[in-house]
């Protein structure tokens, strides 16, 4: 009839296991989509970093150069560089095509938990167990970091960068947001060691997960609690959380081997997907589509919505 499209397509949560890949690199410490979501990086405990095409399930390249297990990785905005960090206290800048180490950034006193490019990939930010976040310049040959953010009283477990903000979560139970534009540091206390922080897509909220098995959605400007999400289990390990591509749901790993989805507004548990027996350690949500990557033990899993089946089958053929 003449009715307009009643509503945009109903949000579908990635609940179907599209693919499971055994990464063959020990425990997968982190899995990350690249900037457009076509590729993914896995950080292995066997010192290797691997680039995959998760849709096809193919290994594209292996980057080896770390001296100990790789803990986090990130891809640059133009897909030309990768950065990774690890227990060997170094941060490495990689060239994607050649697989060469462009720069090895040393300076952290302990293992480096998290690493991120800034928006234009001109700065690498790395957070370490030595309580500092270091800002490395990728444009110059400078060996020393541009700036060291040492406000944390305990190890920095998680780090996010937006256009003009640096968000860090620390084991001292604080979520710190460095606002470069305003020149201010906002520190929100959550009392429990923060394992993961992230921005919402609209940039108005911060999501933090902590070891009291709680996710908290805080208002970025005031620090007020907007939502609290419970039900999963996170009391021992550094597990990750994220928001879905349209900020409708909150996603978190759990130590019981599942991934939990909560409705962002209502705070109610809307779905939990069992991934495997082990702890789901890392997850990464596709930037534009309802697709989720999870890492549990030595393998990664790609999850998608139900309707996604057909095209994936096609893609699977040549692979």
């Amino acid at each position: 009839m003449a009715f307009p499209e009643p509503q945009p397509r109903k949000q579908e949560l990635p609940r179907k296991l599209l693919r499971s890949l055994d990464c063959k690199q020990g425990a997968v410490r982190a899995v990350r989509f690249n900037v457009d979501g076509n590729y993914c990086l896995t950080c292995g405990s066997d010192k290797s970093l691997k680039l995959w095409s998760p849709m096809r399930g193919t290994l594209l390249k292996t980057y080896s150069g770390h001296g100990y297990e790789v803990l986090d990785a990130d891809g640059s905005c133009d897909n030309s560089h990768l950065t990774s960090c690890g227990s060997d206290k170094t941060v490495i800048l990689w060239d994607v095509a050649t697989g060469q180490v462009i720069r090895k950034l040393r300076g952290h006193a302990g293992k480096v938990n998290c690493v991120r490019f800034n928006e234009e990939a001109t700065v690498i930010l790395s957070g370490s167990i030595d309580t500092s976040v270091r800002c490395w310049d990728t444009r110059s040959r400078q060996r020393d970091p541009i700036q060291i953010l040492d406000e944390a009283k305990d190890g920095v477990s998680s780090l996010r960068v937006s256009e003009h903000e640096i968000l860090t979560g620390s084991v001292d139970g604080r979520v710190r947001r460095y606002d470069l534009r305003m020149g201010q540091l906002h520190s929100d206390f959550v009392d429990s060691p923060v394992t993961c922080v992230c921005f919402s897509k609209d940039g108005q909220c911060t999501l933090s997960s902590s070891l009291d098995s709680t996710l908290r959605l805080l208002d970025k400007d005031t620090g007020e609690l907007l939502g609290e999400y419970k039900g999963h289990k996170n009391s021992r390990y550094k597990l990750e959380c994220c928001l879905t591509e349209r900020d409708t749901h909150v996603v978190s790993c759990s130590e019981d081997g599942s991934v939990y989805y909560w409705d962002l507004v209502q705070g109610s548990l809307s779905l939990s997907v069992s991934v495997g027996k082990g702890v789901v350690q890392s997850l990464s949500f596709h930037p534009t589509e309802p697709r989720l990557l999870t890492a549990s033990e030595g393998s990664i899993q790609l999850w998608g919505e139900e309707s996604l089946v057909m095209e994936e089958e096609e893609g699977e053929g040549p692979a």
Binding site: G26, A27, T58, L60, K61, E69, L71, A97, A109, G110, E119, E120, T122, V123, I129, C135, R139, I146, Q147, I148, L149, E151, K153, D154, G155, V171, D172, R174, L180, R181, G183, Q184, H186, D188, F189, D191, P193, L211, D212, R216, D219, E224, L225, E228, G231, K233, K238, L239, D256, S258, Q266, L269, L271, S274, K277, V279, Q281, G298, S299, A319
Partner: protein
């Protein structure tokens, strides 16, 4: 597979031709030897070099004049039939191509012919020629040359002429103006030579009587270019020298030549000045022509040099142009005279120079000061007499006359006067307080000093030394005994009889107004002589320990600045600026106490309570890289702003939070955690009277930190002991508190330093035993703790210790910072043989692949075992609080929910929350993961 990196190399595109690969095996090229270095001409013939003096390169054929065929002399043959041509040899016929080449003797080059060469540049040459013509034997001899030369006119001039230009005119469009008199000079000597244009001074005279017809345009004035001939020689500027020819020939006409004026006249006439010319007689002058019949003057035919031609006076009558011998051309001055500009300058202006249009600022001359009228330029020295030798009258006379005199031996100069004398001289009032150091000493000390002193001149030094020694002794005594009752009494006695108005201005606790108020109260009470001054001035709401510490501080401060010293202190003034020589940079803002925040988090009151906002300076380069303008463009600091704090002040360490430095990896987090901002304690929260200070709890751990804190804790214990013994405790501590100090005491004293070490570096097991004693007191706080904490800790508890029921309890008091509670248990470290901080990484188990070092094969099993253990202990421990905890929690939840705006469907969410709660607690109270999973799985469908 498709994009695997093996085949990707073929896809590269290359530009240009690659360089030949450099072969390293190739031998190096040998240098060319001397005999092989040859010179060839452009045709490839070898040339031999013969050296600079023997002809240079070889010429001809092998250094002969001929060719390969030899040298054949040319023969001259001429017959009647065949007349030999007349051969005219040019120099070029004897030259070869090398001579005509670029470096040869007659190089051929392209240049403009005379036809095209400009004529304007030759004017100087013409002038020179004209000058030469003047001096020629027959003065007009060059006229012919000029006439001939006139035939050769450059192309430019020809073109100009065709366009209507005439010589003597300027170039350019015709101008409407009053006609310029450009009539040819009838009395000109030089014909054909284009004369420079007439200067304006000439036309000025004739301006009036000419009328300017309309429709008549005139050619513009010709412009005489300034010639920039460089100065040569060492003469002064404008000096022309004496041309002998000129002197001989030109001077003859007038019978007398003037070195300067004649030359300059002539030169100036050549340069277009014709004033003189008009004064001169017309016609051609010269001896050779004689005197014509028409000429009237015939007096100087015979060239008699009469004396009348010479100047007889100096300076009066200037010869000719009135330039006093300046030889510069007169054209500039003449013009200036007409324009009346050079009033200030009378002299002649040199060639190439013009008068400045803007006169230089006149130099100001300062006259010497005028001397007074009765000034006598002679100095009389007054006689200096010895005091003894001169009579009093003489002295008086001398003094009256202002003379000097040595009145006293010690009074000779100001350096020999003492302070009192100087003060009297200056008319200052005497300082209050004791006049000398001896007044500050007790009589006993004075006696000792008197015994010690040997000579009169040693007196001062000895006294000073003794005073210093005495002071040191008393200081040491004060240090050692400052926490004992004698100190209190001493302070009392010191302050007792001090009047109120001389109250000390010293405020040791200025930064903490409340404390300062209490101190002031204490001091006033001391002055009143009250014995219980100390106790009554204490804040009743403070904890026992805080009070004890403050007591120490007050006594110490009162002793240090006691009135006895304050008599000394009145001789000093306070410095205007505080010196910060020994200060340290401390972050200005600190994230404050977490206790309030923890409470706020528990009550879910996020927002202002949990947020700290600070000023933070990003690095300039970081801003640049983030494409963000620097928020603090002026500031050079980076990071959190720093302030200076005293480095060594004891008060500083007592009141100011110790700098919380992040610990390096090797240090246990427990240590770093101790550095707890203690400002809140000094601010003396009145809210919780019975609250235990965290300092009380784990003193033994803190001691190891640094000498100062160690010292402080020692002092604390001493004070505690003292306090215990002293019956004068006015305030009654709470029952709970009363028990604490003995316990602490016992631990402290029984502990050898080795244990102290252990407490620091092997904190786990030792701590447990000690803290187990405190468990009973901790129960209260335990209750407030989040329920996940024990779980967290117990998961990492080693199985060995689980046998002891007590050790399940918290290893550290709850008042510790968060990181310590979550830092890994050392026993875990022992097992894994590696350190970990913060949340751990999950084990990488299963799948049978090669695993990283950190993985222990049986960790999954182990985990489960642990969980079970944990359950047991939890059951034991928590069965007391379970119920009330649950209630509390639910209560809180609901309260929070009421506040929450965003939650719309209250009913559903609360139900889910409840279920969540139950889940949570189920997990905490020991559901196996599998069970939990089942439950969770059963949940979603209901929700959706």
């Amino acid at each position: 597979m498709a994009a695997s990196d093996s085949g990707s190399e073929d896809d590269f595109v290359t530009y240009g031709t690659p360089l030949e690969p450099l072969e390293e095996d190739e031998p190096l090229k040998k240098p060319i030897r001397l005999q092989d270095q040859t010179v060839k001409d452009e045709k490839g013939r070898f040339q031999r070099f013969h050296g600079a003096f023997t002809g240079g390169f070889s010429a001809g054929y092998f250094n002969t004049a001929g060719s390969k065929e030899g040298w054949a002399p040319s023969t001259f043959v001429s017959s009647r039939h065949q007349k030999a041509e007349k051969q005219i040899f040019k120099p070029e016929d004897f030259m070869d191509e090398e001579d005509l080449g670029e470096h040869g003797i007659a190089p051929k080059e392209i240049m403009t012919t005379d036809d095209f060469s400009s004529k304007a540049k030759d004017r100087i040459e013409e002038k020179a020629r004209a000058l030469a013509a003047l001096s020629a034997p027959i003065p007009g001899v060059t006229i012919l040359e000029d006439l001939v030369a006139a035939a050769k006119i450059s192309v430019g001039v020809q073109l100009l002429r065709k366009m209507g230009w005439k010589e003597g005119q300027g170039v350019g469009p015709r101008v409407k103006r009053k006609p310029q008199k450009q009539k040819p000079d009838t009395d000109m000597k030089f014909y054909g030579c284009p004369l420079p244009p007439e200067s304006s001074d000439k036309s000025e005279n004739e301006d009036d009587d000419d009328y300017a017809p309309e429709n008549v345009t005139f050619a513009p004035k010709d412009i005489m270019p300034i010639d920039f001939t460089p100065k040569e020689g060492l003469h002064g500027l404008g000096y022309r020298g004496l041309d002998p020819k000129q002197a001989l020939s030109g001077g003859l006409g007038r019978g007398h030549f003037n070195v300067f004026s004649v030359g300059s006249e002539r030169a100036s006439s050549l340069l277009g000045d014709d004033k003189h010319r008009r004064n001169r007689k017309g016609g051609v002058l010269g001896q050779a022509f004689g005197v014509g019949a028409l000429e009237e003057e015939d007096d100087d035919i015979y060239n008699t040099d009469s004396l009348s031609r010479y100047d007889t006076t100096l300076g009066e009558e200037e010869p000719g142009d009135g330039m006093y011998g300046w030889t510069a051309p007169q054209e500039y001055t003449k013009k200036k005279k007409g324009s009346n500009k050079d009033v200030s300058y009378i002299g002649k202006i040199l060639e190439g120079f013009t008068l400045a249009s803007i006169p230089a600022a006149p130099k100001k001359v300062y006259h010497p000061p005028e001397l007074p009228r009765d000034y006598r330029p002679v100095h009389y020295f007054r006689p200096v007499l010895e005091a003894g030798s001169a009579s009093s009258q003489v002295v008086q006379v001398l003094l009256a006359s202002g003379g000097q005199m040595n009145q006293d031996a010690q009074c000779t100069g100001r350096h020999q006067m003492n302070a009192v004398q100087r003060r009297e001289l200056l008319g200052e009032t005497a300082l209050q307080g004791p006049s000398s150091v001896f007044d500050l000493l007790s009589s006993k000390d004075k006696e000792r000093i008197k015994e010690l002193k040997q000579a009169a001149e040693e007196k001062q030094a000895a006294a000073a030394a003794a005073a210093a020694a005495a002071g040191r002794v008393s200081a040491q005594q004060g240090l050692s005994s400052r926490f004992q009752t004698p100190a209190v009494d001493e302070a009392l006695s010191a302050w007792q009889n001090i009047s109120m108005e001389s109250a000390s201005t010293f405020k040791p606790f200025e930064k903490n107004p409340e404390k300062q108020g209490r101190y002031d109260e204490y001091i006033t009470q001391l002055k009143q002589g009250r014995k219980d001054a100390l106790e009554s001035s204490m804040d009743q709401h403070m904890t026992e320990w805080e009070r004890g510490r403050e007591r120490d501080e007050f006594i110490r401060a009162a002793m240090l600045y006691k009135p006895n010293n304050s008599t000394l202190a009145c001789r000093f003034t306070r410095g205007k600026h505080e010196e910060d020589a020994d200060k340290v940079d401390v972050p200005r803002d600190q994230e404050n106490d977490t206790d309030d925040k923890t409470a706020a988090v528990k009550m879910k009151m996020f927002g202002k309570l949990t947020r700290d906002s600070f000023e933070w300076h990003p690095d300039k380069l970081l801003c640049k890289r983030f494409n963000i303008p620097d928020p603090y463009p002026g500031s050079s600091s980076v990071g959190m702003p720093k302030v200076k704090r005293d480095k060594y002040s004891v008060f500083n360490f007592l009141t100011v939070p110790e700098s919380t430095m992040p610990t390096a990896q090797g240090v246990k987090p427990e240590l770093s955690v101790q550095s707890k901002p203690s400002t809140s304690e000094n601010a003396s929260k009145p809210s919780e009277p019975g609250r235990r200070s965290r300092w009380d709890v784990s003193a033994q751990e803190k001691e190891g930190k640094d000498p100062i804190s160690q010292f402080l804790s020692l002092a604390r214990n001493e004070a505690a002991a003292e306090k215990q013994g002293s019956p004068s405790t006015s305030n009654e501590p709470e029952p709970g508190q009363k028990e604490e100090p003995p316990i602490e005491e016992k631990e402290e004293e029984s502990r050898p330093p080795m244990d102290l070490f252990k407490a620091i570096f092997a904190c786990s097991s030792d701590d447990k035993t000690s803290s187990s004693e405190e468990d009973s007191e901790e129960e209260e706080e335990e209750q407030k703790k989040p329920e996940e904490d024990p779980g967290l800790r117990q998961t990492t508890e080693p199985p060995v210790q689980e046998t002891l029921p007590d050790t399940i309890q918290v290893t550290q008091p709850r008042t510790e910072d968060a990181p310590s509670t979550h830092s890994l248990n050392p026993s875990q470290d022992q097992r894994h043989n590696e350190e970990e901080f913060g949340p751990r990484l999950p084990p990488s188990i299963s799948t049978g692949q090669e695993r990283s070092l950190s993985v222990t094969p049986g960790s999954a099993v182990h985990e489960k075992h642990k969980k079970k253990c944990k359950e047991k202990h939890k059951a034991k421990k928590e069965h007391k609080h379970k119920k009330e905890k649950k209630q509390k929690k639910k209560h809180k939840k609901h309260k929070h929910k009421g506040k929450h705006k965003k939650k719309k469907a209250e009913e559903s969410s609360s139900s889910t929350d409840d279920s969540d709660d139950s889940d949570m607690e189920a997990s905490l109270h020991g559901l196996s993961p599998g069970e939990l999973l089942k439950r969770l799985k059963s949940l979603p469908p209901t929700k959706k």
